[in-house]
């Protein structure tokens, strides 16, 4: 860390507070807070009505026409103070329903959706009636959900639906999502009129109508529909802005409205010509994504890269200053927080927050390998800190040549404590992309997807085909394939655990269970991919990914230039490694108990076995830089990778593994009985590849060393490390530089992702009551150190008091 870097950091801080920004942001935030999130039926109705008129036509064309009908008919709204505009229909904060994917959940939950605890939505009686009378009857028997369920064998359904053992709901109940528009090479270059012209050209060039060309023709006609749809949406906003301007008495706002009118008459039809047009283009595309297939993980991509040329041009021409650019970015950030992905009641338990995982990536390298950080990267971080909302999901990409001052700003933002930004290792992400099959230069141009997945605008993939509960396999190995909670025979009927004479016996049964579960997962994905191909092709998305226009093929059929196989997420890796290590140590090394006694302790959820449980709890745990257990974690992750890699998807591409997912740990934990790591039945599992909460008691460096032992590049669906800190531990300049050193070291060790949670006093109060959930906060003061939950109540209160008074 050189001193130059520090100086620049200081300089940056010294730039005067932009006077232009504060007021508008405050007004917009006020509006945002007042608006109640609602379900809008306009998209659903228009989409359905269009389908009624296109029966018998090619599916892809029907979907494109329906999209066009939506863009032509939904309400257009511009709210006060906005510089970036657009809504999903008639309202402010909206989500939309895609009945062609799934309608049944809303029907079931219709009476509770407005009143439920987690993420309730406004849903008017009129809309409810419309839904029940118009929408449901049309789609009954015709949705993705019904097609998928019809095809899935009973076995697969029994184990894979609502069990917490395996879950693919996101692929049988919703569109794929998980895509990044190619702003750099497509949308910011030619706009939707360019796309339309290319499709027209391609149509003209089809010299004979062979079977293959017939399909291409359908495809190109869909492209034209999509382009027309987006162009129309823009024009409608332009017209609205113009008429609002006409009636506006405030000259300042009038001028802004006229700018909006001008902006929307140019984008998304054409390439954006100014910074604000770029922002508006981004938002129109995000709207289009959600209108096309309400799903998670429509990523903005490398925002600083495609926005910088526009920023630079505007600055140089004197059309824009830094403060104005910041204000405009803030406007986009607030808009991105307004639109969301509709959640089922079950989904709301885990993803609540009106979020859509619209990932936006900053920093990183250019395709030629040189550092890509620019002024827009800094502006975007500032906007994120200023706005403080949940969207976009900001990711940063860090490599050895990332400027220290950028990393320090990242740490400054991270220290605010809400887990943003997600900090990624550019080098490992690149390797992951290469493992998925991309050439190095494309791989370097990766961007974040969803929560922590590396992807790129060039690739079409199912980054999250599903998740499986690895700890369940350990449970089965210790219970002859039966669930300890329900007694159901989910796994293989392996040997009686009481007959295990060595640790290898246990491993053999365990790996057998994992193999079987992974195979079930693979088969499930194949079924779902086929249904997607047949019933929900993706014309809107095919227009924004390179290769489809050239090949005349939809994304679901492999039209993109680059395709990658499906990713499956391992849940409970650390719990499994800890469990195996505990058995190895207590049963086979120290012989302090027998397999039979252990199993009855598990059967009884440790009731009457507290002493044994303590032995298990105090055996080696992943996250403490202890090879005894860390090696097992590495082995488990590598096994998952090898096992998945042998399977091929419908396009012939290898499956891959991932260890991420922040909230999957809750339902998976719920489905399990007691585990040999000493965890009680029902308790959530570890988050992603992080240690089990409360078990990493050796501080963040030890935790990072443990994580660093894993082969992250073999988990190209992403890994996840969530480090929790007390505010005092990272206060001041020392804290900033301390965090940045942790990141640099973790990334040199080959780690992929880390995010920081700095806890507040409220969390600590909770930790006092539920130490098992938190445990591992390290209390650090000069010459003194302790683990929060190990302190007496009095000391804990002292720490809470210090936390309350800590200003970062």
């Amino acid at each position: 860390m050189n001193t130059m870097a520090a100086e620049r950091v200081t300089d940056r801080r010294q730039t005067p507070e932009p006077t232009v920004s504060g007021a508008r942001r405050k007004a917009l935030m006020e509006q945002f807070r007042k608006a109640k999130p609602a379900i809008c039926m306009e998209r659903t109705l228009a989409f359905t009505n269009s389908h009624k008129q296109t029966e018998g036509q090619p599916v892809i064309l029907r979907r494109a026409k329906a999209f066009r009908a939506v863009c032509e008919s939904i309400t257009v709204r511009i709210f006060d103070h906005e510089l970036v505009v657009g809504t999903l229909g008639n309202g402010h904060r909206l989500g939309v329903l895609c009945p062609e994917m799934s309608w049944s959940w809303l029907k079931e939950e219709i009476d509770t959706i407005t009143s439920r605890k987690a993420e309730p939505y406004q849903f008017t009686d009129e809309n409810k009636k419309l839904f029940v009378e118009e929408i449901v009857p049309y789609w009954r028997g015709q949705s993705l959900e019904e097609f998928c369920l019809e095809r899935m064998p009973e076995d697969h359904k029994n184990i894979g639906i609502g069990t917490g053992i395996m879950d693919t709901e996101m692929k049988w109940r919703s569109g794929v999502g998980e895509i990044t528009p190619d702003h750099q090479d497509i949308l910011f270059v030619k706009g939707y009129s360019g796309i339309k012209n290319e499709a027209l050209d391609q149509l003209r060039q089809l010299d004979n109508l062979s079977r293959e060309n017939q399909e291409k023709r359908d495809f190109y006609r869909s492209m034209i529909e999509i382009a027309e749809a987006m162009i129309t949406l823009g024009k409608r906003y332009s017209t609205l802005a113009e008429s609002l301007a006409e009636n506006c008495s405030d000259p300042v706002r009038k001028k802004e409205l006229l700018t909006i009118a001008r902006t929307c008459s140019n984008v998304p039809a054409n390439a954006p010509a100014s910074f604000i047009e770029g922002l508006q283009m981004v938002f129109f595309v995000q709207l289009g994504c959600l209108l096309a297939e309400s799903s998670p993980a429509f990523n903005v991509g490398r925002f600083d890269q495609f926005m910088f040329p526009l920023y630079q041009a505007d600055i140089e021409a004197g059309r824009l200053d830094r403060a104005e650019a910041l204000e405009q970015i803030e406007c986009l950030w607030i808009k991105l927080s307004e639109i969301f992905w509709l959640l089922t009641e079950n989904g709301a338990k885990y993803y609540a927050g009106y979020c859509g995982f619209q990932n936006l990536t900053l920093g990183g390298r250019k395709r030629n390998g040189r550092d890509a950080t620019n002024e827009v990267s800094y502006l975007a971080l500032e906007a994120t800190a200023n706005v403080g909302l949940h969207q976009p999901s900001v990711s940063v990409s860090i490599h050895p040549e990332t400027p220290d001052e950028f990393l320090i700003e990242v740490c400054r933002l991270a220290r605010r404590g809400n887990g943003m930004p997600a900090i990624h290792n550019d080098i490992i992400a690149t390797q992951m992309m290469m493992y998925k099959g991309l050439p190095p230069d494309q791989a370097r141009d990766w961007n974040g997807l969803g929560c922590v997945v590396p992807s790129t605008r060039k690739v079409s993939e199912w980054t999250y085909a599903g998740q499986y509960n690895m700890a369940a396999c350990l449970e089965w190995a210790l219970n002859r394939g039966k669930s300890r909670k329900t007694g159901q025979q989910f796994g293989l009927e392996t040997k009686d655990p009481a007959t295990f004479t060595s640790f290898d016996d246990l491993l053999e049964s365990f790996y057998g269970q994992v193999k079987k579960l992974i195979k079930t997962g693979y088969e499930t994905t194949i079924i779902q991919q086929l249904v997607h191909q047949e019933s929900v092709p993706r014309p809107f998305f095919s227009a924004m990914v390179e290769g489809c226009m050239e090949s005349g093929k939809d994304l679901t059929r492999g039209g993109a230039k680059y395709n990658a196989g499906p990713g499956w997420v391992v849940v409970g890796c650390a719990d499994t490694a800890n469990g195996l290590a505990a058995i190895k140590k207590i049963v086979f090394d120290q012989k302090k108990t027998t397999m039979a006694e252990l199993c009855s302790a598990l059967d009884n959820n440790f009731e009457g076995f507290e002493e044994l449980r303590q032995l298990l709890v105090n055996s080696p745990k992943f996250g403490n830089d202890d090879d005894y257990v860390d090696n097992l974690q590495v082995e488990l992750a590598d096994f998952s990778d090898r096992e998945f890699r042998q399977y091929r998807d419908v396009l012939g591409l290898p499956f891959h593994s991932a260890i991420m997912g922040l909230t999957f740990n809750i339902p998976t934990g719920n489905s399990l009985g007691a585990l040999p790591c000493g965890r009680f039945a029902g308790v959530p599992l570890a988050e992603g590849s992080s240690p089990h909460p409360g078990t990493d008691i050796s501080g963040p460096t030890a935790c990072i060393k443990s994580l660093g032992k894993m082969n992250h590049e073999n988990q190209p669906g992403g890994t996840l490390l969530n480090l929790k800190f007390l505010p005092k531990a990272v206060e001041g300049e020392r804290g900033l530089y301390g965090l940045s050193a942790l990141i640099r070291a973790y990334f040199e060790l080959g780690g992929y992702h880390v995010q920081f949670n700095v806890v507040d006093a409220r969390k600590l109060l909770d930790a006092q009551l539920h130490p098992e959930k938190y445990g591992s906060f390290v209390v650090r003061v000069a010459g003194y150190c302790a683990i929060f939950t190990e302190c007496t109540k009095e000391v804990q209160n002292e720490i809470i008091r210090r936390t309350e008074h800590c200003a970062l």
Binding site: M1, T3, A6, E7, V9, T10, R13, Q14, E610, E611, L612, Q614, L615, V617, N618, D625, S698, G699, P700, T701, A702, K705, A729, V730, E731, G732, E733, R734, G735, L736, Y737, G738, A741, L742, R744, A745, E748, L749, V778, V779, R780, V781, A782, G783, Y784, C785, A786, E790, C791, T792, E794, V795, E798, I799, R802, H805, A807, L808
Partner: protein, 331 residues
């Protein structure tokens, strides 16, 4: 010179020392990210000590009530009949516990913990090296703290020499009360010193720490002349040693006698050690003093700066003067 080296080599195989903790990832015990090795045994017994187990140079058994599941294993294991479940006090009477460790290894929940361990330098070095990558990335290294590390000069010298050889930055935290002659071997192996000055008034120093400050002040001057980067630290204990008079006196001493020191760092008093007092069955003398708030510390910093001595406020990095003006603005 040659002889000194030989004798140090010879000691290498023999030196064992007693430590009570190795903590990884400290940001406040020297520059950068540090591993702190706490050597056991201290000549002072300060009222506010946060690590009561640091004072005795023997192995002690700590019992943590909160973790005890009352299983009686400890009592069964102790052939002296001394051990009791932690929830029942941990020990019966004041019998001569030999710290044989039987009850500790019998305890399934880690409610009994051994405080203190005789270890060889190479065992300690192994732990220190685990975080080498973090030292490199942060400009950090190892810090030997205590207790009073200079009370185990041979052991410390071997630790320091091995670290230097491995390119690891070395720091020492000292209470200042040690024999300069026996510590001399260590001094030129130290890159950074944090030197405590607890009270300038000897009467108070004797009362609060149990020893005179004259040797402390003498050693501080010697250290300043030895050319080691040094920060003076004052634990700020409200109403005990934070009077304007004492702060100005300390700053004055630093300005006049320790002109090579980088500056003064006030360390806000805290009560986080209470758990450990309870674990050792010790009384805590300062039961009704609370830790100073940020304003209080700022006021102390102000006094120090007024005395024309640099002040490192909590959370600031130790930088040489030239850069400090810019860096202190970041919080």
């Amino acid at each position: 010179m040659e002889r000194a080296q030989i004798s140090r080599e010879a000691k290498r195989t023999t030196a064992k020392g007693i430590i009570f903790e190795i903590e990884r990832w400290s940001l406040s015990d020297g520059p950068g990210t540090r591993t702190v090795v706490f050597l056991k045994g201290c000549p002072l017994s300060c009222w506010w000590c946060a690590n009561p187990e640091s004072q005795s140079d023997r192995v002690q058994i700590g019992v943590f009530t909160g973790k005890c599941i009352d299983c009686d294993r400890c009592a069964e294991a102790c052939d002296k009949g001394l051990a009791l479940p932690a929830v029942k006090g941990g020990f019966s009477g004041n019998g001569p516990c030999r710290a044989c460790n039987r009850c500790v290894s019998a305890c399934p929940s880690k409610a009994r913990r051994r405080m203190g361990e005789f270890v060889s330098a190479s065992e300690v070095i192994k732990e220190i090296k685990k975080d080498s990558i973090f030292y490199r990335k942060s400009g950090g290294g190892v810090t030997f703290s205590g207790g009073e590390p200079f009370r185990q000069p041979e052991f410390l010298a071997e630790l320091l020499a091995t670290c230097k050889k491995a390119g690891i930055h070395t720091a020492v935290e000292t209470c200042g009360l040690f024999n300069w002659e026996t510590a001399a071997d260590c001094i030129d192996l130290i890159d950074f010193v944090m030197f405590d000055l607890k009270h300038m008034d000897d009467r108070h120093h004797r009362r609060l720490t149990g020893a005179s400050n004259s040797l402390v002040l003498e050693n501080a001057e010697k250290m300043a002349r030895a050319g080691v980067d040094m920060v003076i630290r004052i634990p700020i204990i409200p109403s005990i040693n934070d009077s304007e008079e004492n702060i100005r006196a300390t700053a004055g001493f630093v300005r006049e006698k320790l002109d090579t020191a980088l500056g003064i760092e006030p360390l806000p008093y805290h009560r986080l050690g209470l758990t450990k007092y309870a674990a050792l069955g010790l009384d805590y003398k300062l039961s009704d003093i609370s830790s100073p708030d940020d304003d209080h510390i700022q006021a102390i910093c102000h006094l120090i700066t007024e005395e024309r001595v640099r002040c490192f406020s909590p959370g600031s990095r130790y930088q040489k003067e030239s850069n400090q003006s810019q860096l202190t603005r970041i919080k």
